[in-house]
């Protein structure tokens, strides 16, 4: 089993969350056996739409734990990411970063003359933890696919966060319509070797650049009312008893379960 899937598996295990309640909308294809072994509900959605689809799942049934898995660095889905984060939609976004960026820690990693990595070689990638943090994510972290145990730990922790959590997973993989299991092990090892752990680092400083080592770790861990919280409190405040609360109400002002 692939290291990321293994981490998801272990993470769910550790978190103690009921697998039945977990939904994974993803724009990366998972193999049916993988989904079976994870014991979750899985949806393969059009590229970039995992977070929007996941928002619908969560709002339709607030009891669900939704883990959108997005590949290709959210090029298409960037907007859903920033807005979902701003709203603090209760999702755990696993951002599988399979870009082939040409220089890491001063060394040439991969040479692509054609732009079929999600980024053209000459473009600079996003600093995703920083972007997530600046939009208001309650939890951001970054690991490589070889940091399996840390990643699992992170997933377990983030599953209990109330709000948008985001874990970037550096997992160089060659192409687009492949299953998640096809990762470039050599590159993975390279990324693993050239990363340094810096927990609680200011996300501003964790950009992946040509001359520095990759910073991994947990960068953000904070609290903020979720979309459903704000939805319930605001409507309760204005409408009073006329309002039918949506899902479990955690806010004190809102009262117990509606």
């Amino acid at each position: 089993m692939n290291s990321i899937i293994e981490a998801i598996h272990k993470g769910i295990e550790k978190s103690g969350v009921d697998r039945k309640k977990i939904s994974i909308p993803s724009d990366i294809p998972f193999e049916p056996e993988t989904v079976k072994s994870l014991g979750v509900d899985y949806f393969q959605v059009p590229r970039g739409r995992a977070i929007a689809f996941g928002s619908g799942l969560k709002l339709g049934n607030p009891d669900l734990k939704v883990i959108p898995v997005v590949g290709d660095l959210m090029t298409l889905g960037g907007n859903h990411f920033v807005h979902g984060t701003r709203r603090n939609m209760e999702l755990l976004v696993l951002c599988i970063n399979n870009f082939v960026y040409h220089k890491i820690a001063g060394k040439s990693v991969s040479v692509v003359t054609e732009a079929f990595s999600p980024y053209s070689t000459f473009e600079e990638p996003f600093n995703f933890p920083h972007l997530g943090n600046s939009c208001g994510a309650v939890y951001t972290a970054r690991w490589t696919a070889l940091h399996t145990s840390e990643l699992a730990e992170s997933i377990a922790e983030a599953l209990h966060k109330r709000g948008m959590s985001m874990i970037e997973i550096l997992a160089p993989g060659p192409s687009y319509y492949r299953y998640i299991t096809h990762l470039d092990s050599e590159l993975m090892q390279f990324y693993f070797d050239n990363s340094i752990l810096k927990n609680n680092e200011d996300p501003r400083n964790v950009a992946i650049t040509a001359d520095k080592k990759i910073v991994v770790g947990k960068f953000t861990d904070k609290e903020r009312p979720t979309f459903i919280d704000s939805y319930n409190t605001q409507h309760k405040k204005i409408l009073g008893d006329e309002f039918t609360p949506h899902g479990p109400v955690f806010d004190k002002a809102g009262g117990g379960n509606g």
Binding site: R47, T75, L76, T113, E114, A115, F116, Y176
Partner: protein, 401 residues
């Protein structure tokens, strides 16, 4: 006008359809590619990007297909011939900007490599399920030109034609290929630059002060200018007058949008490109396009050798649809046989154009994606033995399956 030498790779090459398409674009003078990668259209951009530095072409990989086509439209207004390349889901995302391209009358080419749909479909398998979408996919009224190449050579030739028509009529032109043609490696003969005719952009030549961006010539096509020339014009996706200023009355809608339709509809005879084979005395005519026509042409030979009077009508341009010619043939033939790799799209146009004068057999694709010539032959044989006219579409049930 002759082609620019720098983009023409004269000679005989073994190229995949996708590569031939990129070569065709460069030969046609395309100097801007806005793309977002999607299987099975990757090789077009790959080839284009490899050749871009030497030819002096520019490209950008955008964040999605929505922006890829938007960038192409922007680039086209700088005077660079532009194109984008995509496949099923990406084409669906481009629908809004197809409408913008129509409304701004921006010449550009959209290469679409069809795959099995809907949804995510089968990304690597061929289909012809987006033909109706290319005609009707965006909101509002418009007419469009769509080519359907059937070989690598045609990918090259039709790409050039697509650019030419796009400039001539100031309309986005779609090249509706499929995953099969796109990946088929074949011999492609690229002529020398002076043998390739290029339609120059219809630039405005009058006095600077009296330029109006949408002042139409007799044929409803307005001449164009590039940005940065000091015309300081305005264009909008809203319903507009000659100046490009929004005016939202019923009369202006008629004044603005009806010509968008008429500039194609009134000139269909000049645009339509069909190839006929043995239709003079035919009792059955196979109407097909794209990769299906390869099987059809084979069937014509086989059937003729068996003594059936069979002809073929190959639609090089699917849109606008050659309804007049089909109607003419309808009064001559007993039946049309229409093989398509979908569940019935162009066959409906055939039904409409036949006016109940001929039977229509529809063949959906075979199990391996493309038609079995044997199925078409069987359908042709049955059609040629028909006594009465039943009209309407008869779905042909495969025997080989």
């Amino acid at each position: 006008m002759k082609a620019d030498k720098s983009g023409v790779l004269t000679g005989s090459h073994i190229l995949s359809g996708n590569e031939a398409c990129a070569e065709g674009a460069l030969a046609a003078g395309c100097r801007f590619l806005g793309l977002y990668p999607i299987v099975p259209s990757l090789e077009v951009s790959k080839r284009f990007l490899q050749r871009a530095p030497e030819v002096g072409a520019t490209f950008i990989q955008m964040e999605d297909e929505v922006s890829a086509l938007a960038a192409v439209l922007g680039a086209s207004w700088t005077g660079k011939k532009s194109m984008t390349v995509t496949s099923g889901p990406g084409f669906s995302l481009m629908m809004e900007h197809l409408g913008l391209g129509v409304m701004l009358e921006t010449p550009c080419v959209i290469v679409e490599i069809q795959m099995v749909g809907p949804g995510l479909g089968l990304p690597t398998r061929p289909a012809q399920g987006d033909i109706m979408q290319s005609r009707w996919g965006s909101h509002g009224d418009y007419e469009i030109i769509a080519f359907a190449p059937s070989s690598a050579q045609e990918m090259f030739d039709f790409t050039i034609k697509a650019f030419n028509l796009s400039e001539r009529y100031r309309v986005p032109v779609a090249l509706m290929s499929d995953a099969y043609v796109a990946q088929l490696k074949e011999k492609v003969a690229i002529p020398s630059a002076d043998q390739i005719n290029i339609e120059p952009r219809r630039y405005y030549g009058g006095p600077r002060d009296s330029y109006l961006p949408f002042k139409r010539d007799e044929d409803f096509v307005p001449p164009m200018v590039d940005i940065g020339q000091g015309y300081r014009f305005h264009v909008t996706g809203l319903t507009h007058d000659d100046r490009g200023y929004p005016i939202m009355f019923e009369e202006c809608q008629e004044y603005n949008v009806h010509p968008l339709v008429r500039k194609i509809r009134d000139f269909t005879d000049k645009i339509i490109d069909i190839e006929e084979k043995n239709t003079n005395d035919a009792e059955v005519v196979i109407i097909s396009y794209g990769v299906s026509s390869r099987a059809s042409l084979k069937v014509v030979e086989q059937a003729r050798s068996k003594g059936h009077k069979v002809g073929s009508l190959k639609l090089n341009t699917v849109w606008p649809f050659p309804e007049k010619r089909v109607a003419e043939l309808a009064s001559q033939v007993k039946a049309f046989v229409v093989p398509e790799m979908n569940f019935g799209q162009v066959v409906q146009e055939v039904e409409r154009s036949a006016y109940g004068k001929a039977n229509i057999f529809f063949l959906t694709h075979g199990d391996n994606g493309v038609e079995y010539a044997g199925d078409i032959l069987a359908a042709v044989e049955e059609a040629s033995q028909m006594k009465e006219t039943k009209c309407g579409i008869t779905e042909w049930k495969k025997r080989s399956a």
